[in-house]
């Protein structure tokens, strides 16, 4: 898949060090980042994290995407990581406050396209915080819970359900 990609009215590309400030501003927003792992408000540490990530990206172990609007203004990020022989995980989803409600759906569709192209035959596994009630309700529509611990439910989605989810989301946007 050739990046950047213009799709669903957004531009998707891989994160670069120069995006550190934008990402930090999202991840240190106490309300919108409350379901993500905590991030220290330290720009240099964010740059260092991205630098290390780019090495994982080179090895095709991880992909951190930034999506921008048609004016090329960054609006959010999402990450594909823990890519194994038969599974992968996505997460670190966050969208700039005040943006169109359906941007995150469009980025989810992009991930489905990316997975179909680059992660063929791999199953998506992911976790959702137990207190993230709306996300749980949504994921229960299409995905299956495979386990839980004190903090998270663990989900997986098979090919047929991923197709059903793709069709549902496509019908909305």
């Amino acid at each position: 898949m050739q990046l950047p990609i213009h799709k669903y009215g957004l531009i998707f590309r891989l994160v670069e060090e120069t995006d550190a400030e934008f990402i930090l501003s999202l991840r240190t927003d106490n309300i919108h980042a409350r379901y993500l792992s905590p991030t220290e408000n330290d720009l240099q540490k964010q740059i260092d994290w991205i630098r290390k990530y780019k090495k994982r990206e080179e090895k095709q172990q991880e992909f951190y995407f930034l999506f921008a609007d048609e004016d090329n203004q960054p609006v959010g990020v999402v990450r594909v990581y823990d890519i194994q022989n038969d599974t992968y995980t996505n997460g670190s989803w966050i969208v700039k406050p005040g943006c169109d409600e359906f941007i995150s759906i469009k980025s989810d569709l992009f991930l489905a396209d990316f997975a179909a192209n680059q992660l063929e035959n791999k199953r998506c596994v992911f976790d959702v915080r137990k207190d993230n009630k709306k996300a749980l309700r949504f994921h229960r529509m299409f995905s299956r819970i495979t386990g839980e611990d004190e903090i998270n439910y663990y989900f997986t989605i098979d090919e047929a359900d991923a197709k059903r989810k793709y069709e549902f989301l496509t019908s909305i946007i």
Binding site: E101, F102, I103, I105, K134, F168
Partner: protein
């Protein structure tokens, strides 16, 4: 369909907000909890309870619960 039941189902999609004052005229996006996940929850609820598929434009173009109710009502008659 009746609006009272619809408002109740609608408010159930908000987890953190006191929705006891929600009425048909409530501007449902004018609060801190409104997000893409709330929008998706509402679309999923309507899909499940009323067998009607709301679109992003339906939600974008609506301000009040009554607006959404009217769209669901119109689409359910198609």
């Amino acid at each position: 369909m009746n609006i009272e039941k619809f408002i109740q189902e609608f408010t159930e999609q908000f987890d953190d907000l006191d929705t006891s004052t929600f009425t048909a005229e409530t501007l449902f996006k004018e609060n801190d909890e409104w997000s893409s996940m709330t929008a998706l929850s509402i679309i999923a609820m309507v899909d499940d309870s009323y067998k009607v598929r709301l679109t992003g434009d339906d939600v974008r173009n609506s301000k009040t619960i009554q607006d959404i109710y009217d769209i669901v009502l119109a689409k359910s008659k198609l």
